[in-house]
């Protein structure tokens, strides 16, 4: 394993271990997504189409991710570890990659609960929907981690992150909803792959500029 991959793995493991010990983000995300699905049941008039339900699932996913992302750099900020990480002798983009992997793990864990809950409350899932959620997680974690680092430098952190994140999440929702309900899910899944690729590379390349003092 190269030194870069080892750094990334160590950083991602650190985030997951920190969460296992403190448990402040993941339980909140789980509770939030199940509450949101419950609210959706009452928000949708009875007899609503499955398409509308699927659309609301995507809203739940985006906002749950947002909830997790607001906490992405909370531990580092509170203990001033980010400066230490930036000074550590590893490539700064490795910090982004480690953080993104950690974030994607949280998202997947939240969805392992959310998707069966959705199937139980509303209607069964299609494999296209599951594939689209998995692809969307990559994109959301990539841009989300970078934007969380940008928002962390501002005065209005928790307020700013949703504003920065939601316009960039619109294509994810278009691709995700399209893949879940359209008759040609392939082109929407392909679009999500493209989105992930483009924004992952851009975030990976620009993270260095965001954390350098």
């Amino acid at each position: 394993m190269s030194a870069y991959a080892a750094d990334v793995a160590a950083l991602a493991r650190k985030d997951v271990l920190l969460e296992v010990r403190s448990r402040d983000t993941l339980p909140a995300m789980l509770l939030f997504v199940v509450s949101a699905l419950t609210i959706f049941h009452f928000a949708l008039p009875s007899g609503s189409s499955e398409r509308a339900e699927t659309g609301l699932l995507w809203i739940a996913i985006v906002f749950t991710a947002l909830l997790g992302l607001t906490r992405a750099f909370a531990a580092e900020r509170e203990e001033g570890v980010l400066d230490g990480l930036v000074l550590a002798p590893c490539d700064r983009s490795a910090i982004w990659l480690g953080k993104t992997i950690g974030m994607a793990v949280f998202l997947v864990l939240a969805e392992i609960v959310a998707l069966p809950a959705f199937a139980l409350f509303f209607h069964p899932l299609s494999w296209e929907l599951v594939a689209a959620v998995a692809l969307a997680d990559i994109g959301i974690a990539s841009i989300g981690t970078l934007l969380a680092a940008i928002a962390a430098a501002s005065r209005a952190r928790e307020l700013l992150l949703p504003l920065l994140f939601l316009p960039l999440a619109i294509p994810v929702v278009i691709g995700g909803v399209g893949a879940s309900i359209a008759s040609n899910p392939g082109s929407f899944l392909g679009f999500l792959v493209l989105y992930d690729g483009v924004f992952a590379i851009l975030s990976w390349a620009s993270f260095e500029y965001v954390v350098t003092e």
Binding site: A153, L160, L163, L168, P171, I174, G175, S187, F199, V210
Partner: protein
Amino acid sequence: MSSLNRGLPSAAFALLVGGFALAFYWAPEDADQGFSQKIFYLHVPIALTAYACFGWGAWKALRLLWTRDRKYDLESYTAIHMGVIFGLLTLVTGSIWAKISWGEWWTWGERQLVLFLILFLFYSSYFMLRYSTEPGPRRERNSAVYALFGVVLIPVSFLAVRIAGTILHPTIFTHEGADLPWQMLVAFLVCLAGMLSLAATLYRVELTGKRIDASLRELRELLA
């Protein structure tokens, strides 16, 4: 810093007046849409100018990250400021066009409008980012990175709105026919050149104003 030359404002004036005159008195009336097609010479140049501003802002942002020269921060900010103004004008004129063409002020089937709504939201957040971060190198770099995201978001959203249009909101109407009569094309190009010069003029004015602001602030600190 002689940033205000006379050429640009004169070109903007001559080209816009000339272009609009050509559009109204020389270009033939559109066979399908009739007189209402004249809004094309306003709406589309404004939309393209907005893209040009966003692109220019991203280019300056890239230069900032590359060279670490702090002067690019103000240039990138000003270009995006202009882009947001032209983007808002695109939304307003596009909405009027939608009203003429199919009687609705807003239609999700009109891709250009939807795309500009996304971009408008994105770049408004850019302003929020600037306002809520302390001035300094950190803000300059964060804004530059966000501006670069914007220029990547444009084609990505374009694609997204396009594929969504095929399934979620079927497009019934299209504005731009592939075969524009050459008189229309000439009038359109003159209007586009005029609009770009207007944007460049406003960019210069705004940039000069922002630079004077910055110099005065520096002067005040020196005197305090």
